[in-house]
């Protein structure tokens, strides 16, 4: 295959922000969290990402405020480095090379310039054994520092960062792993270990999950798998330790945290309820329920004003002292499986896919930001192991984005399948989707495919759903009844079947005049207005997997792929097979903006992509091994601004972009070189003022300012047409400072004269400079009279010829440049 250098596959959608505990800065203004290979700094008020600290080459595994300087932050990564950042400016201060992958990082005020890291036991990389190591950070001014001064503190610790905590200002260090808790006292240089039996009498699992130490008191709180929290006291003597148990959570406690004063203990688990226990009055507790998804981490800001909880749906919630949620930082939710596939909302051009359980998420690709979640199921989400939830399994948009159809299902053991088909209409006023019709049990078995007729101009919208019960149904919007106060609702218009075969896919042609339904091996073509079976197309063996109508000039073709490694193209005018080829296509999709089609072929662990036109024998573009793993969903999204790439291989990306999702839930896309350059340029423009958080307001104003600056620069650079200067002066100068009209007339006339041809170029050049100079002078001193201008100009013109002996042209230019620079500097001063 040909190597296409300028097209490459890039990741989209950001990485997890709930991987590790976030950190809140001392002034509570920023929240830092590890996200993939970088650390993101969010404003805790506006939820915007202020900085992204890039530099690590491996996954960032921990973020920690530097105890001695609260404006600096340590981050550690699996690439074996610990980096120190200034997060307010987003500058990398220093890099410490440890040499071993780091899984978590700890520090305390007591231990100056020492950080504690968790690394795998070095003897063998395969084993899952980890140890806690103290690293002395050398104090050198270099950027890159080798930190090889390691000393082991504890062995056999867990790699989970929430299992180790410093107690009481760094006097001791507590670590839990499985059923053992170990407390290490630095002064005594001695460690005590406490272990629990595997199961209590009631059968609850006793395994430790997390730990937190009281900041003022000798007390350690541990969370357990069975939902219990134990408060350990008096552990300085191994024999006389005591513990008390708190039990509210019904399953594992995932995170524990004491408030800085030690008055409250916060705990969170899978119930998505933040529980606040009063220290020493443990029967009093406050709850903050329904936070949306299981809590993975709980943190408190150093002043205790803000709490933040990380959730399993890639979300960080910022809470004002357990009263109310003040901000939500939400990333792209990547669930276990995306059953709805990738869709594009025609209205907002957002990518739509499964989000939280029972929700659809709308993700803006342009802004790379999650817009909102649409609650499809509209039921209270109850988390309990073994409880079957309603899942959104299918969704479809109509061409105008006015209607959204969703299918949710719940399969219980020993009970019949519960299916709901919901139709949502877009409400212009609230700018969101409003439920219009709910059809309970639209089919008797799972719905295999669903599509709207794509014709934008047709009066009635038709939805077709195909199901495993062997039927496909057409749904239409009914006419509004006279007396009903409610608007029109959807009802079933037609039920179709073909010899009891199971329909697996359905597809409308671009103009909505034909409907193709694939019944196992047979493709049936129907007329959606009269519901007549027009023709059947069949190319056995193999069940039809995908069906696509060609677009635009190729609309006479119908393409289908089956599970026996065949792709067939039928000509609908002759109702015969146009061509077929042997290709194991797992996904076939069509670009609505062009004739192009994309086919993903899965071959032994990697996926190949072919982009082709149905009418042409040669593919436009093909790439082997696009990504590892199967591509499960893909979609063409229309571009807002068309690219003008002339290269043949990247022309197919001009009108739309191809996004695809692999089985590892990575959202990928193709990007061209031109596009990337454009992006780079735009990112350079958006360099952010350090002191100001990047709020939408700032973005508005900031852009404006940038534009302003840009304009000035361009005014300096681009040569104005010669004649317009005089006119401009004439028109722009305020009337009360204008000189006598007679004078202006002569100037105007002069400006219209054509100078001598030989000297013209030089003149022009000089004039340009003159003009720019003049403008600056204008801006400097506004009330300067214009009388001197023509003289200057004349002088300039003469200067090109007569004053040549005294100063060479280059010298003159040099001189002017110097002057200009000075002036611009003064301009800056005056402006500020």
């Amino acid at each position: 295959m040909v190597e296409y250098g300028d097209i490459r596959v890039v990741y989209r959608g950001g990485s997890k922000i709930n991987f590790r505990k976030p950190v809140i800065s001392n002034d509570s203004r920023f929240l830092l969290c590890a996200s993939g290979e970088s650390v993101k700094v969010f404003s805790s008020v506006t939820e915007e990402c202020v900085h992204e600290l890039r530099g690590h080459t491996g996954q960032v595994t921990g973020v920690l405020l530097r105890p001695s300087n609260h404006l600096q932050v340590y981050s550690c990564s699996t690439d074996g480095t610990v980096r120190l950042w200034d997060f307010t400016d987003g500058i990398l201060v220093r890099t410490y090379v440890v040499g071993y992958p780091v899984y978590s990082i700890y520090a305390s005020l007591n231990h100056k310039e020492v950080v504690f890291i968790v690394t795998p036991v070095q003897s063998d990389k395969r084993t899952e054994l980890f140890q806690l190591v103290a690293v002395n950070l050398p104090q050198t001014p270099d950027q890159l520092v080798e930190a090889r001064d390691l000393s082991a503190v504890l062995s056999d610790v867990s790699s989970n960062p929430s299992t180790i905590a410093f107690g009481r200002g760094g006097e001791y260090l507590a670590s839990v792993n499985n059923l053992k808790m170990e407390i290490y006292f630095f002064k005594k240089n001695k460690s005590y270990s406490f272990s629990l039996r595997e199961y209590t009498k009631n059968g609850g699992k006793n395994t430790f999950t997390c730990i937190a130490c009281h900041p003022k008191d000798d007390c350690v709180a541990t969370g357990h798998d069975d939902g219990k929290i134990r408060l350990w006291r008096n552990f300085k003597q191994k024999k006389e330790y005591t513990y008390s148990t708190l039990h509210w959570h019904h399953s594992a406690v995932s995170s524990l945290c004491f408030t800085p004063e030690g008055t409250n203990l916060l705990s969170g688990g899978v119930e998505s309820v933040l529980v606040q226990w009063r220290y020493n009055q443990e029967n009093q507790k406050d709850f903050l329920p329904r936070l949306g998804a299981a809590i993975t981490h709980v943190t408190v800001s150093p002043d205790g004003a803000l709490f933040s909880t990380s959730h399993s749906d890639n979300k960080i919630t910022i809470i004002q002292s357990c009263v109310k949620v003040s901000a939500v930082i939400q990333g792209l939710v990547k669930g276990e499986n995306v059953t709805t596939g990738l869709l594009v909302d025609p209205r907002s051009k957002a990518l739509v896919l499964n989000g939280r359980p029972g929700h659809l998420q709308f993700y803006s690709l342009q802004r790379d930001k999650l817009l909102f979640h649409l609650d499809i199921v509209q039921q209270e989400y109850i988390h309990e192991a073994g409880l079957e939830q309603f899942e959104v399994v299918r969704a479809a948009f109509d061409a105008s984005g006015l209607w959204l159809a969703t299918v949710e299902e719940r399969k219980q053991k020993s009970a019949e399948l519960e299916l709901n088909l919901k139709l949502w209409s877009f409400d212009e006023q609230t700018q969101s989707f409003v439920l219009n019709t709910t059809v309970s049990a639209p089919h008797e078995a799972r719905i295999t495919a669903m599509c709207f007729s794509q014709a934008a101009d047709s009066q009635t919208t038709t939805l077709v759903s195909a199901s495993r019960d062997g039927h496909f149904k057409a749904w239409q919007l009914g006419l509004p009844a006279h007396t009903d106060d409610e608007g029109p609702s959807w009802s079933c218009d037609f039920v179709g079947a073909y010899h009891g075969l199971v329909p697996r896919c359905c597809c409308f042609s671009a103009d909505g005049s034909l409907l193709a339904v694939g019944f196992q091996e047979v493709v049936t073509v129907w007329n959606p207005t009269s519901w007549e079976l027009l023709t059947t197309l069949s190319q056995p063996p193999g069940d039809v997997r995908n069906l696509c109508f060609g677009q635009l000039s190729c609309s006479k073709y119908l393409l289908g792929s089956n599970n026996k490694k065949m792709v067939c193209c039928w000509n609908l005018l002759t109702c015969s097979l146009e061509w077929s080829t042997s290709m194991d296509v797992s996904l076939l999709l069509v670009d609505s903006r062009s004739e192009n089609m994309a086919a993903f072929c899965c071959q032994d662990g990697s996926t190949d992509l072919f982009v082709f036109k149905p009418s042409e024998p040669r593919p436009l573009f093909s790439q082997k091994a696009v990504c590892s793993g199967r591509v499960i969903h893909a979609v063409f999204t229309p571009r807002e601004v068309m690219l003008e790439s002339s290269e043949e291989s990247s022309q197919w990306l001009n009108r739309s972009q191809l996004y695809f999702l692999t089985e590892f839930m990575d959202l990928l896309t193709f990007s061209t070189k031109a596009e990337e350059e454009k992006l780079m340029a735009s990112s350079k423009q958006l360099v952010i003022d350090d002191t100001v958080a990047m709020t939408p307001f700032y973005l508005l104003l900031g852009k404006h300012r940038h534009e302003h600056l840009g304009n000035e620069e361009s005014a300096e650079r681009t040569p104005l047409p010669q004649s317009s200067v005089a006119i401009k002066e004439l028109l722009q100068t305020p009337a009360h400072v204008l000189p006598a009209t007679s004078f202006l007339c002569s100037m105007f006339a002069k400006s219209l004269l054509i100078s001598v041809t030989e000297t013209r170029e030089e003149n022009k050049h000089v004039d340009e400079e003159m003009e720019s100079e003049k403008e600056e002078e204008d801006s400097d001193e506004e009330v300067e009279t214009k009388i001197s201008r023509p003289e200057q100009e004349a002088k300039g013109v003469q200067g090109g010829e007569s004053t040549a002996p005294t100063l060479t042209k280059t010298q003159v230019r040099e001189l002017r440049r110097v002057r200009k620079q000075d002036l611009s500097w003064i301009t800056g001063l005056l402006d500020s």
């Binding site: 949620v325 709910t438 007396t483």
Partner: protein, 531 residues
């Protein structure tokens, strides 16, 4: 923090007819006044002038009723034999009627004896009407002729002998004094112009014509005969526009409502159907006790009068809109002072405004569900008025409990009274197809939980046996239905040509099949317990 999402109560489709403006309009009549006549009521004619009395021709009499009287205002009895077609002149002063004895009589509405007698027909005269000129009478008879008579002189002006069978209906033009149309049992409609010797237009209805009706514009003609109602466009030379076949017996009478927007047809099948005249779809239907022979509609649709073969005249009066509606006492609202308390307070400049969070209103069962009190939630959902008035709410709560996996907990541990209440609800709503799946699981769980205590309480046992019997009945019923469906399928398959087309399946039969399965499971379980 998201708020609690209340239980979704599904908006179930309403069973039965859709309520449209037409049904509201045509249902807005009082209960009919029924008057016994002496024989079958063959004709009803409303006087064109106020107070719009109407003449009812029945057997040998013509009664004239006032708009609201139940007794005849006037009676004409001087007929030798059965009278036919008593009709008013356009000024409401004269009345003409045919008779079985072939004599046409003219009456003054105020007088008793006939003013004139028109003799000339040889057989019974079934049609008599005034022309628009007011001085001529059109008659048509079983002797196949139709004639025009001069009123004052009682002289026959013209006779047309074009029909080849009994002429049983005729209508005169309201706009043209010379034009009239007759319909006959020879299946034809003929348009005559008294200025010409012959008919000017002939249309074939295809059935013996029983009734004719001209639209007020007289561009369209409606004819009824056999089971068909046909509409003809006279301006296009008698082109048939539509043929309606909505009755299953002979259509006997036609009428148009006051606005001309609705057409009414009465038939021997005891129905009066109302059609929309723009699309000729049936918008309403009246049922009567006997075969209908005649139909009359008062001006402004104030009353519908129907005469039937069992000699009963049924009069329906329109409900008066001005009737004072029985309004319930307005609910006492809090006084203005209480209502406005604190509303007009303006915060001062330095005040820190604490917004009060809007409190979410939750139903009782939702409050319990929010606290995870599953048994209490079910109890509140089973409150008497809720389970009687809104069974869908109760079912929705049971479904929600099932979704949470706590239905078993909620159903367990109930005493006799609570359990019998629950079973009553299950029995009452079990066969509502919308609730069956949910209630079947409930019944199964109840049987599972309480099988060890069966036999201890007579009340519960009675309920369970009742449920069992109901199930048995339902299974037989559904089986029968399935058999009928099977038979129908065979018949359809036999009658349809073998084409390569897919047959649109009936979704109902699938749900019926599914229900049979559910019933069987529950039934087996309950029989297991009792045997």
């Amino acid at each position: 923090m998201a708020s609690f999402k209340p239980t979704q109560i599904p908006d179930l489709p309403k069973l039965g007819e859709k309520i449209t403006e037409d049904t509201l309009y045509w249902k807005n009549y009082k209960a009919p006044v029924q008057i016994k006549e002496f024989g079958a009521v063959s004709n009803i004619d409303f006087s064109p002038v106020s107070p719009h009395n109407f003449a009812v021709t029945a057997f040998t009499r013509i009664h004239i009723y006032g708009p609201f009287s139940q007794e005849p205002v006037k009676t004409f009895t001087r007929f030798k034999d059965t009278a036919y077609c008593g009709r008013f002149r356009s000024d409401g002063q004269l009345l003409v009627a045919g008779c079985e004895d072939s004599v046409v009589r003219l009456y003054d509405v105020g007088g008793k004896a006939a003013l004139r007698m028109y003799k000339g027909h040889t057989k019974a005269v079934h049609v008599a009407d005034f022309t628009t000129g007011r001085y001529q009478i059109l008659t048509a008879s079983d002797d196949y002729t139709c004639r025009l008579w001069d009123i004052p002189n009682a002289v026959e002006l013209t006779a047309y002998q074009e029909h080849t069978d009994y002429v049983r209906c005729g209508v005169t033009s309201k706009l043209n004094r010379d034009l009239f149309i007759t319909g006959s049992y020879d299946h034809t409609l003929r348009v005559f112009d008294s200025r010409t010797e012959k008919s000017v237009m002939t249309m074939d209805h295809g059935q013996p014509v029983e009734s004719l009706l001209l639209y007020p514009s007289e561009g369209l003609l409606v004819s009824a005969g056999g089971r068909y109602v046909k509409v003809w466009d006279l301006l296009k030379g008698g082109q048939p526009l539509v043929s309606l076949k909505n009755h299953h017996k002979t259509v006997t009478c036609l009428a148009l409502n006051s606005s001309g927007q609705r057409l009414l047809s009465a038939s021997l099948d005891r129905h009066v159907k109302v059609y929309n005249t723009t699309n000729y779809k049936v918008v309403h239907n009246f049922d009567y006790a006997a075969a209908i022979l005649s139909l009359g509609l008062a001006p402004d649709d104030e009353s519908i009068v129907v005469g039937m073969t069992n000699s009963i005249l049924s009069i329906k009066h329109r409900k008066n809109l001005e009737e004072p509606k029985e309004t319930s006492k307005p609910r006492r609202r809090p006084s203005y002072r209480v209502f406005m308390k604190g509303k007009n307070f303006v915060p001062k400049q330095d005040d820190y405004f604490v917004s009060k969070p809007a409190r979410q209103h939750l139903a009782k069962y939702d409050k319990q569900l929010k606290r995870f009190n599953v048994s209490k939630a079910l109890d509140t959902a089973l409150e008497a008025w809720l389970r009687r008035k809104k069974p869908e709410v109760t079912v929705a709560v049971i479904k929600e409990l099932d979704r949470r996996g706590t239905l078993k907990n909620a159903l367990a541990g109930r005493d006799e009274e609570q359990l019998s209440r629950l079973l009553c609800f299950v029995i009452g709503n079990f066969f509502d197809t919308r609730f069956t799946p949910v209630l079947a699981t409930t019944a199964e769980i109840v049987l599972d939980i309480y099988q060890c205590v069966i036999g201890q309480s007579a009340v519960i046992d009675r309920h369970l046996i009742h449920l069992q019997k109901l199930l048995e009945k339902e299974i037989y019923y559904q089986k029968d239905l399935m058999e009928i469906l099977g038979m129908l399928d065979t018949m359809f398959a036999f009658s349809l040509l073998r084409k390569e087309t897919a047959v649109a399946g009936l979704p109902e039969c699938h749900t019926a099949a599914a229900n049979v399965e559910i019933f069987k499971i529950v039934f087996e379980q309950s029989t297991c317990l009792y045997t």
